[in-house]
């Protein structure tokens, strides 16, 4: 599928050889309650990098993620993945992990079986290897809702990975977790990324963004302020808003 050329000019990551675009967002607008919560966003995401979305509270990070995954209908604008318009078939190749893990009221294994069932009857070995990947194999028969917060989020992550997604969206998955649980989530995400899964990761945590990001999408008040490589973003942010944000100041319009 051919890519529109003009999209890749302005906001491309600063990697030397331009990798192929996977996700494209054009003229994105999302209106609710009489105000523009997301406005004129142009964004191109490549297939390889681990993209971190940052910005102050209310910047529209979670909204952007939901729009890119198709959980929300944009008011205007276009979202494409691999050249295809976002529809159920595109979304079926993506997965999302939410800030609060949404687990079914079933056992750990049954939570995985629930999503694996659509590729036919899942074998025990598949479930065990998924749980081993996130370090939960010893809890396989436990009720999912009885796990600790960190374990629940790891299970949610295992369930997302069970879908073998091309793109994995993560909406502040470690916002309410302790440092150890956060570290284990990060390690799993990094391994998934190394296996070739495109990650789009929303976080408030500057340290986490530094540890994970290849490129940073910085939003403020529903607008894209900058999209640069992580190196560049943390050392010499282009925008005043990003400098204020990184310095821990109030970000003014």
């Amino acid at each position: 599928m051919p890519m529109p050329e003009q999209a890749a000019t302005t906001l491309q990551t600063s990697s030397p050889s331009t990798p192929p675009a996977l996700g494209e967002v054009h003229g994105l607008l999302y209106r609710a309650g009489g105000s523009n919560l997301i406005e004129s966003i142009e964004l191109v995401l490549d297939a390889k990098s681990l993209t971190v979305v940052m910005g102050p509270n209310g910047a529209g990070k979670s909204l952007l993620l939901r729009l890119m995954h198709g959980l929300l209908e944009p008011t205007a604008g276009e979202i494409r993945w691999g050249g295809r318009r976002l529809d159920d078939r595109v979304r079926a190749r993506q997965a999302m992990v939410f800030q609060r893990p949404v687990l079914l009221r079933r056992s750990v294994a049954a939570n995985l079986r629930f999503v694996l069932a659509r590729q036919g009857k899942p074998s025990k070995a598949v479930i065990e290897s998924l749980l081993a990947e996130v370090g939960l194999e010893h809890l396989i028969d436990q009720p999912a809702r009885r796990l600790s917060g960190g374990e629940q989020q790891r299970l949610a992550l295992a369930r997302a990975l069970a879908l073998q997604p091309e793109v994995l969206f993560m909406d502040e998955p470690t916002a309410s977790l302790d440092p150890a649980a956060t570290a284990s989530i990060e390690a799993i995400v990094r391994r998934a990324h190394e296996r070739g899964v495109k990650i789009v990761f929303v976080t408030h945590d500057l340290g986490q963004a530094r540890r994970l990001a290849d490129d940073v999408v910085f939003l403020n008040k529903g607008r894209l302020v900058e999209h640069t490589s992580a190196e560049r973003f943390f050392d010499q942010p282009e925008s005043r808003q990003a400098r204020q944000y990184l310095a821990g100041q109030l970000v003014l319009a």
Binding site: L71, D88, Q94, R105, S107, P143, A144, R145
Partner: protein, 235 residues
């Protein structure tokens, strides 16, 4: 007040003596009401779940209607079913009037709205939590409904109990379509009504105590099942 003392004595006596007539009445009460609950669940649970996740015009009106139907007056339902099943009625050929089947039909009509409306409430709350995940997983409406009904199964037991409570305690509908015929359509509530009208207050009260105990036992059995099962299944 003497009636109360006498009633308790009599109730014990009745139960301990295992009076065959009483046992027959108890068995029919349970058979009619439990069957009605089962049928009401088969119809009401999918209906409630569909209404909980559906997005269509007229949905709010349908929910209001369903909630209002929870308060259907049993005598009115009894009368309607009577008209349907009587020889002159559209279903007269089936000769169902004054049979336990007629009583099951009447009670099913009475409690299906209760089961559906309460199920809608339970499933809608759970759906609010699961909605984004389900859409992220691209589930069909049918898959969503089944998953929600399964995950809400313990709360839905209580919904079933609410229906059973209404059914087993109800007299207006079953007396009209059943006729309170001895050894055929006499259940606990119609027997109580009959004994009261004959002036056998102690016997009526004794039957009432037995009925209460019966309802209590069914509730206790279901709730203990729920507690044991939920301990193994989820938090």
């Amino acid at each position: 007040m003497q009636d109360f003392g006498a009633a308790f004595g009599l109730a014990f006596q009745l139960v301990l003596s295992a009076d065959p007539d009483l046992l027959e009445i108890i068995a029919l009460s349970l058979r009619v009401s439990l069957t009605a609950v089962a049928v009401a669940c088969i119809i009401g649970l999918p209906l409630g779940a569909a209404l909980a996740i559906g997005r269509f015009r007229g949905r709010p009106a349908l929910i209001i209607l369903l909630n209002a139907l929870m308060g259907l007056p049993p005598v009115v339902v009894g009368l309607m079913i009577y008209l349907l099943l009587s020889n002159a009625g559209p279903l007269g050929t089936f000769q169902l009037l004054y049979t336990p089947t007629a009583m099951i039909i009447a009670q099913t009509v009475l409690i299906t709205p209760i089961v559906a409306a309460l199920c809608r409430e339970v499933v809608e709350q759970m759906h609010a939590e699961y909605d984004e995940l389900f859409r992220s997983l691209c589930l069909s409406r049918m898959q969503m409904m089944t998953a929600l009904l399964w995950d809400a199964r313990y709360s839905l037991l209580t919904v079933g109990l609410a229906g059973f409570g209404r059914a087993v305690a109800e007299v207006g509908a079953v007396i009209i379509v059943g006729g309170n015929i001895d050894h055929l359509t006499r259940v606990m509530t119609t027997a109580i009504a009959l004994e009261t009208s004959k002036g056998n207050l102690a016997l009526a009260l004794a039957l009432g105590i037995v009925l209460l105990t019966l309802a209590l036992s069914v509730n206790a059995a279901v709730m203990s099942l729920r507690m044991t099962a939920s301990r193994y299944a989820h938090a």
